[in-house]
Structures are given as C-alpha cells and as structure tokens.
C-alpha cells in the first residue's frame, strides 16, 4: 500500500508536464519511445480495427467479386431475417444456456474446491493435488474432447462402466447421441478442464485473509463450517464478485470449440452456438452477410454486457476491471 502511495506523489510532477502541448522538441526527445510503440499501434489498428469495416457486409447482400460500390444495400434485412429464423433463435438459446451452465457450475465448483484445498493441512499434499488439478487446463480442447468422447464411449467408456458397476444404469448410454445430455456434458467438460485452474485466484485471496480473524473465531468457539461461512467466504467476497461480473460479460463467448468438436448431426439442435452458426453460414455456405450479422449481434451484446458489468462493479465499490 505504502508503495503505491509513494508512486502517486512521484507521479504528480509528470502530471503537470502532461498539460504541456505536444511540441516538436518533446517528440524529438522521445523519438525512441515513438519508434518502439507507433508501429505496434499501426499493427493493432490493422488487425483489430480495420476488419470492423467488414461489418458493412451485414447491411448488404454481399456478393464476392463485386467492388464495394457495386454491392446491393439492404439495410437491416439480414438482422430481421435472423430474428425470425428458427435456426438462429435455437443457436441463441443454446449459447445462452451453455454459457449460463458453465458460469454457474464453474463458479460453484471452483469456490468449493478452493475451500476444501485450503483445509489440507500438509503443504506437500496440497501442492501435489494443486499441480495435478491444473493439468487439464494446459491441454487443448482437441485433446480434452477426445478424452471426453473416449470416456463416454458406449464400448469401454469409463463413465458407462462405472455407472453400470454402481448399478445406476443397466445398459450403457449413448451419451453423445442424445441432445438432452449435451449441455450437461459441455458443462462437465468445462469443469473437468478448468476447475483446478480457477481455484488459483480464490486460494490467493484466501491466503491474504488475516490469520488473526481465524484465531479470533476459534477463541469464540467457531466450528470449521462457521469459520468458512463467516471468515473465509466474506474474505473472498470481493474476488468472487469481480470474477462473477467479469464472467457475465463473457457469457456469450462460452461456445465454440467444445460444441464444434463434440457436436454431431444427432445433437445438432442442442449443440450449435452462435459461433458455429457464423462458421456454417459464412465460410461453409458463403452467406457472408447473414453470418456477419450474427457475429455483430454477438459482439454488440457482449460489449454491452461487459460495459454493464464494469459499471456494476464500480457501483458496488469494487475495483474497476478496466
């Protein structure tokens, strides 16, 4: 804390300087800084901002090969089509549903696991469990979906075998061929891959809770559960709120790789998300205008959610995300 305060006072002087107009001598003085950053600025403008021009396609009946002035402008026709299209409404439902499932499952499992990991007394074992739990995070979705498909397979899949041994099911289930299981499978895959990784930030927050609070709670005779409930959870509340808000902003982003890799013709109605819709209509069928419109819709909703999240976080007095 002291450190930041010190820096603030140091920063006061340059602040005065900042009010000075940009002069040639200043630019000359900083020419190395300019050479180091302006080319990178041009780079990001080219790769992140220039493509936004392509959004014009959503308001056209885009035909490849025609020049920009020859394109036919159709206004909001593509968007109107999207919102009356059963296909799009379905992928929207799937995206939202899987996004919400991932969000809730991801949060609850990570917090519970962090609380339990925190109770392991032997540092050595805690480290081992943590290291192992991080492992799936580093595997690609290709590998993870391969593992999921193998585990759920009807012949020799471990999930069917275990469930049958436990007499929960009689016959093996074709998990990946039935739509009703798909959202759950996606949620479980996310948990398997990320739960360990997601505990990192909670464990860091738990580690920063003043031990004196636990001691005081113990003297007052608090049980383990009470200490979790009244010391640990309030101690990491700020972290939870920040992460929750941030995740809400990204809720639409939770859907491409798993769904694309695990999905198949049989579960299409449950597996396809906005991103898959864009890929299918755009690159596979060449309906660039409709696909772009779908993409714009997703971006606009995402940005709105993120800005709202930011605003909420600020309102709640938590630190801003940006």
């Amino acid at each position: 804390m002291d450190e930041t305060l010190g820096k603030e006072t140091v920063a006061l002087h340059p602040k005065k300087r900042k009010k000075q107009p940009i002069t040639w001598s200043l630019i000359k003085n900083q020419n190395q800084l300019i050479w180091m950053s302006v080319p990178l600025l041009l780079y990001i403008v080219l790769f992140a901002y220039v493509p936004v021009w392509g959004w014009t396609m959503a308001f056209q009946n885009y035909r490849p090969g025609r020049s920009f002035s020859e394109q036919e402008w159709v206004g909001f026709k593509q968007f109107k089509f999207l919102f009356t299209d059963d296909n799009f409404l379905r992928v929207l439902r799937n995206t939202l549903a899987m996004g919400m499932i991932n969000l809730v499952l991801g949060f609850v499992t990570a917090i519970v696991l962090a609380l339990l990991l925190n109770e392991i007394r032997k540092m050595f074992w805690k480290r081992i469990v943590q290291t192992i739990s991080y492992l799936p995070h580093f595997l690609s979705w290709i590998i993870v979906t391969g593992i999921v498909a193998t585990s759920l397979s009807i012949n020799d899949g471990i999930v069917n075998i275990v469930l049958m041994k436990l007499h929960i099911i009689k016959d093996p289930i074709l998990w990946l061929s039935e739509g009703k299981y798909f959202w759950g499978i996606v949620g479980a895959s996310h948990v398997w891959k990320e739960v360990g990784w997601n505990t990192i930030i909670y464990l860091a927050a738990i580690a920063s809770i003043d031990p004196a609070l636990y001691e005081a709670a113990e003297i007052d005779g608090a049980s383990r559960y009470k200490k979790m409930r009244f010391v640990t959870l309030p101690g990491i509340k700020a972290t939870i709120v920040i992460l929750l808000i941030m995740s809400v902003g990204h809720v639409l982003e939770a859907g491409f790789e798993v769904q694309y890799l695990l999905g198949n013709g049989l579960v299409m109605d449950w597996s396809e998300t906005i991103d898959i819709f864009v890929l299918k209509y755009g690159l596979a069928q060449g309906n660039y205008s409709l696909a772009t419109a779908g993409g714009i819709f997703k971006t606009v909703v995402s940005v709105t959610l993120l800005l709202m999240a930011n605003w909420t976080a600020k309102r709640l007095g938590e630190e801003r995300l940006l």
């Binding site: 593992i147 860091a204 920063s208 113990e218």
Partner: protein, 319 residues
C-alpha cells in the same frame, strides 16, 4: 487489492490455537471426507490421461477388443514409430514447434516493448495508444471480417498466418506494464544518467528485470500457440504442408468419433500407407499423438506454478 495485506505475526495466537482446537469426531470425519474427495479428484483428473498412455503403448488391433484401462496388454512402441515414420504427422509436429517458438519470442518481445513505452508516464502518446489497445479487449470484428482481412493480406495458406494475428495481447501488455511499474524509478534513472537511450534501457534494464512475469506469460502464450487449431482449420486447411499437430489430431478425432463402433473403418487416416499395418489403428495413433502433443507442456508447467497468480491478477487490470 486485498491480498496485499501483510499477514500479522501469528506466534502469540499459536499456543491458544493448539489448546482450543476442537477435538472429537468432527475433524476426523471432515479430514477423512476431504482426503477421499481429493483422491477422487486426482483419479478423475489423471485416469483419462493414464488410460491414453496405456492405449498409446498397446497394439492397435488389440485395443479394439477393449478392456485397456491403466496398463497396456500387448506392449508395443509401434504407434509412436508410426507417427514419426508418417511424413504428415512428423511435418505437422515441426510446424507446431516452429509456430510456438516464433510466436512466443515475438509476442513476448513486442508486448513487453509496448508495455515499457506505455509505463512511461511522460510519454506523449501514452494515453491514446493505451486506450486503443485496451479497447481491443472488449470487441472483436468477428470471424468473417477477420477472414477477409487475412485473405486481403494474402496470408491464406501462408505460415505467417499463425504468427501475425497474435503478436500482441492487450491483456498481457497490461499485466507486464503493471509489473514494470514496480521497478524502482531510480534504476531506470541511473541508466538514463549513464547515457542510455530508451531502447537500450528497455533491452538492458527492463527486459532482464521482468523475467518472472515474462516466464509466466511466455508459458501462457506458448500453450496458446501450441494448442491452437482453428487458424489451421480455416486459413491453411488447403495446404497439407502447413498443418499443425493439433489440427491433425482434430482430423483423427472426427474420424474416430464417427466410427466409434467400428474403428477399423477409418484405418489409414493420418498415416502413410506403408505404416498402416494391422497393429496400428486410428484410435491408437490418436492416443500416441495426444501424448506427444501434451507432454511438452506437462513437463514445463509444474515449475512455473508459483508465478501463475501473477498472470491472473484481476486487480492489476485497471487504467
């Protein structure tokens, strides 16, 4: 951030803690439960991996019979030999290595360089450049417009499509910039007095001092590059010579998943004809590639563990 709180001395409380720790059944029950839970967690995490290793060392024609769990039944290294004898997968492996190494070096160097300039409070263009980069974290033009950009830049079917679009990450830039902010001003000042220019200060002072944060971010960038397949899928799929390991794996995955009941159907996928002996099936090849694709990462990450939290610190992401 709350976690900057310094923990107070615990010694006075320690004796109290011991005497007051609740004894009886509850702690024993809880710890047994917790231990069992952790063992389950470890099993669920590791089993699929061990199973894949077992399958990768088991003869392909035997795997089809089923019943391979933790240990190969008919031990063989044929699957691995088949991968490396197969031209396509061998090439894909090296393309993956090349893109990972080049991406990581370029990304780390450029992102840190930018972070340094934007950490300088007296830099004239600091504000506008920061805003332009931070905004890129909020939106993306989307798949189709990006595809057209790559097409217009003539990068379709080029190796550089793996490198150029991901050279700088705004998020990493902010993390590094925050870290540079913790470098004592006096260090930079003394270099300046010695007559070093900004680039020299960056190369000689800032880069070496940022090693801990750069190690973590390099790991994240490298993992991202090594694991990505989507760019190979949409930008270079017409060029077999540019295929990556993950993309080859993806092609195998879809072929084995669709022929789940009879893995023989897809025999020959991803393999050269002469290596496609009866012993090797797509299923066993897939297991072997999975191991080859994950081992490089798994060897490195445990050593970086203590730095992970640096890259995840949300509190550091603020303007």
């Amino acid at each position: 951030m709350a976690n900057q709180q310094i923990s107070r001395g615990t010694t006075p409380g320690l004796s109290v803690k011991k005497s007051l720790r609740p004894s009886g059944l509850e702690p024993v029950l809880f710890h047994s439960f917790n231990t069992v839970f952790m063992i389950c967690l470890v099993l669920v995490t590791l089993y699929p991996f061990i199973n894949t290793i077992a399958v990768s060392f088991n003869a392909g024609n035997d795997t089809i019979r089923g019943g391979i769990y933790l240990w190969p039944r008919v031990w063989t290294t044929q699957n691995y030999k088949a991968i490396f004898a197969s031209g396509t997968i061998y090439d894909a492996f090296w393309i993956s290595v090349a893109r990972t190494v080049i991406s990581t070096i370029l990304n780390i160097f450029l992102t840190t360089m930018l972070a340094y300039t934007l950490s300088r409070k007296d830099y004239v263009f600091r504000k506008p450049i920061t805003i332009i980069f931070v905004l890129t974290m909020y939106f993306s033009a989307g798949l189709i417009p990006n595809y057209f950009l790559i097409k217009d830049l003539n990068l379709l079917g080029s190796f550089w499509v793996y490198i150029f679009p991901t050279m700088i990450s705004a998020f990493n830039m902010i993390v590094i910039r925050t870290y540079i902010g913790t470098i004592p001003e006096s260090l930079l000042e003394s270099a300046r007095i010695d007559g070093a220019g900004d680039f020299k200060i960056f190369m000689r002072v800032v880069l070496p001092l940022c090693k801990p944060v750069l190690a973590t971010i390099a790991l994240f960038v490298a993992v991202g590059a090594w694991n990505s397949w989507f760019d190979a899928f949409i930008y270079t799929s017409s060029k077999q010579s540019l295929s990556t390991l993950q993309y080859e794996l993806m092609k195998l995955l879809s072929s084995t998943m669709n022929s789940n009941s009879n893995p023989n159907v897809a025999a020959g996928v991803g393999m050269d004809r002469d290596s496609a002996k009866a012993m090797v099936t797509p299923l066993s090849i897939r297991a072997a590639i999975t191991i080859v694709a994950s081992v490089p990462i798994l060897v490195v990450y445990p050593f970086m563990q203590k730095y992970f939290v640096v890259g995840l610190n949300v509190g550091s992401v603020k303007e």
